[in-house]
Symmetry: C2
Subunit: 293 residues, 2 copies
């Protein structure tokens, strides 16, 4: 039964591009975000099954410096999403063009580096609300414009976006039935990227940082059981530089009542999209297992 | 039996980057080209089988504005090359930084637009020798540095690179055992891109253009039987603008003694890498059928 079509799409969404891909379509939309107070783009892979039936949705959160384009261009995910009938939503990684002084100064803070938190510190707190954007504003938009199955939602990501996926799944208990990550930042309150971001967006009080630290969140998790799949390359520079610390999450999860973590160390792989492309099939299989159960 | 390793690699090749990918590696090299008289980059996907055995090689020729990066980043070919045990070589699309006046003026002539011909007109003829580079210099380099099976070579490409693949296979009779193309320029001597390129590189005498026109070459082909696989999207702007003219090649092949063309019109697909990614599996299967026979 076809419930939605592009003709009935909300007027607030503008179709920026569309391309037929593996029997479905790879689209990019723009809209005025109320959370972020700027114009934002996001990508949606619409699987072929969506023409006939409601489908589960999986969110992909990208890493530092990325836009909505990186994953859809480089990961080769569409073939597997088409196979399993999953809608894939890829938001941008930060607000854009907010005219905040210093927003473009660094690759690891500001533009392209929203870290999926709701900022509380000036001058960021007005726009840098990526946590609420990803977990509230975007899901409402997707539900209004696509034929998706309520209660069948997964989340995944890479590096900074892996951190985002973990945090969203651990904080919004019950909202995500499946979660996985590639080379995620697992313990941001003690790693250089995380410390810089949290100090800037949340201020110097380290207690507040725990609200967005997967290792802290996993210990106090009290939602439905969650199995987290993580792939980590052994030749990933950021792993060896201790930006990622996946072993800390495995250790923390042993104190958790509901969360288990499967950490697969992938020999010789690095931090690139070649690593993601190699293992994306098994991640989407992991999501399909929970979302199509 | 392992015959070659990176340790024994010719000193003339410089490894620019390497990433583990689908059990093999995606590498980029640079070298000083004698044909093109400039420094050139090319990409090689080394399949996992190469560690133990000699493997067939397939050349990929990219389209206008591309470098050695586009195919390796966007096509999702490595998984299929790893499955079939094919080495994939992706040259750049033109000489670079040759300091020729006007080389960077247009997207469809000069830099990024070598058209896989050996130029005969000034000021291009010294550097713009992509036909000899692809069919002679590069194969010698590949044979010297990788463990490949002699006489098992395929060639494929997209758009301008599809034209290049057709021309190389039809002119160098016997050198390529398999050939395929995505949305190739099939009749360049009568289409706008081709006319501009041929006039610039080969001069105004249209008789000389026939040397690099697939429709002309197919009629006088006298080599071993060749089955050409072509995919063409129906929503490809360049198809509807008559830049590509695949039907002309099908018609011309009916006058050929040795060449047959299978043209698959793919409904709703465009000219992008989403189209290529969707059908790359069946193209590499086509090459494997001939190269592993």
């Amino acid at each position: 039964m076809k419930l939605f079509s592009y003709n009935t799409m909300s007027e607030s969404l503008k179709l920026e591009s569309t391309a037929k891909c593996f029997g479905g379509s790879q689209n990019v939309y723009s809209h005025e975000s109320t959370e972020l107070k700027c114009n934002m783009k996001f990508a949606v892979f619409v699987p072929p099954q969506h023409a006939e039936d409601a489908v589960p949705v999986v969110y992909w959160l990208s890493g530092l410096t990325c836009t909505e384009q990186n994953f859809i261009t480089k990961a080769g995910a569409q073939q597997h999403a088409a196979l399993h009938g999953l809608l894939i939503v890829c938001p941008d990684t930060s607000p854009r063009d907010c005219k905040i002084e210093g927003e473009d100064a660094d690759y690891d803070f500001g533009t392209g580096a929203g870290f999926y938190v709701d900022a509380t510190a000036e001058p960021w707190k007005t726009n840098y609300r990526m946590y609420s954007y990803v977990t509230q504003e975007l899901p409402v938009l997707i539900a209004a414009n696509f034929n998706i199955i309520p209660g069948k939602t997964g989340i995944m990501g890479h590096s900074m976006g892996g951190h985002g996926a973990l945090v969203c799944a651990l904080k919004k208990t019950g909202q995500y039935q499946s979660v996985s990550a590639f080379a995620p930042i697992c313990h941001p309150s003690v790693s250089p990227w995380g410390i810089k971001a949290f100090k800037g967006y949340l201020g110097p009080n380290e207690d507040t940082w725990q609200e967005y630290d997967a290792c802290a969140l996993v210990k106090k998790y009290s939602g439905p059981p969650l199995q987290i799949l993580i792939d980590q390359g052994t030749e990933d520079n950021f792993y060896t530089q201790k930006q990622l610390l996946p072993e800390d999450l495995v250790r923390a999860s042993q104190e958790s009542r509901g969360v288990s973590v499967v950490l697969r160390m992938q020999q010789e792989y690095d931090h690139s999209y070649y690593f993601i492309a190699t293992f994306i099939a098994s991640h989407l299989e992991h999501h399909a297992k929970y979302l199509k159960a």
